[in-house]
Symmetry: C3
Subunit: 142 residues, 3 copies
């Protein structure tokens, strides 16, 4: 067997503030550049107020429902102790705790093994736009 | 050292509708077939209305409590915008967002390194029975 | 290319009861001992009433807010069916279901690729102190 190879890229993602940004195409291009046929793709977000989630890619209403539901689960109106950066600060940490900092997707026949309806989203939890850093680490074989 | 080896299998899991199905034995058999002694086992569910969770394997009341609690966290009665496939549709996506799409378990001495009380569950979030596809990707050494 | 190497260590973490214990330094030392320059670090907790979460490392108020918020999300006063080990038993399982059993962090230039504000916490969900077992599995190259 051929030895494992590693392939790492850093993505910078501009978010428009609160909401889910589909990063599937960006991560797919990293896999294509690696030429890996089999392996795993680990995606890691280097922040604690933005996170990852794999969700439906078809109806944008799903994303709006998730956003509103999360606003209720971790409400800004709650009496949070940590309010240094404003009312959206602590809810952003709370929302991150409920979702993913890392996600690992198998590579199958040279492609990310997503199901038909799956997309990978970066979920921005702060009110204002941010540039977020996401590491993509592949372990596999070309 | 020997080179890494890869081993991938696709499992089809029949669920009886809402609730947790223990898939530990199915995944354990994949590890046994691989003959890997050390490595990692990544489990990935190819859906956005079913998910993974590692939970207690002893008292079935734990699973019933989780099911009822999740029904309250993401209630069908909420005014969801996305209702195309019925009242259990959007709650299923919401429940998936709170649990896992991928889970990585170390392989130790040829076995999944679960603690005594741990089992891996596929959590069906839709009302009706479904056949779900789960990818098991091992990276390790025989 | 050099072949992949594996490196596994078991950490025993003493928790003071409910709350988040920063285990970043412990895991960082495992990475240093491995001498790996590139790869992944998978952390796995072998329990269903303690879990992992990557969160802010700066203001301890964030950890207190998370603790209080989780106490509200999975309240002891709820009518849980599974109460064998006391009122904090089932809430502990519920809180674990919302957070992580495994977390995978890329290794970049010989270091865990955490962002500036990130730390890895073991979250104890039981009232009393426990000794918890955490597996650290590295796959990479020295």
């Amino acid at each position: 067997m051929a030895a494992t190879q590693w392939f790492q890229e850093r993505l910078l993602i501009d978010t428009p503030g609160k909401g889910l940004t589909d990063i599937t195409a960006r991560v797919t291009r990293v896999v294509a550049r690696s030429k890996f046929v089999i392996g795993t793709c680990t995606v890691f977000v280097r922040h604690t107020s933005a996170s990852l989630v794999i969700q439906e890619n078809a109806d944008p209403a799903v994303l709006r429902d998730l956003e509103r539901w999360f606003a209720d689960l971790a409400p800004e109106q709650r009496r949070w102790e940590h309010t240094d950066e404003g009312p959206d600060d602590m809810p952003a940490h709370a929302r991150s705790a409920l979702t993913r900092t890392s996600e690992t997707i198998p590579i199958l026949d040279g492609r990310l093994a997503f199901g038909t309806w799956q997309a990978l989203y970066l979920w921005e939890h702060r009110e204002r736009p941010h540039q977020r850093e996401v590491l993509v680490h592949l372990a596999g074989q070309a």
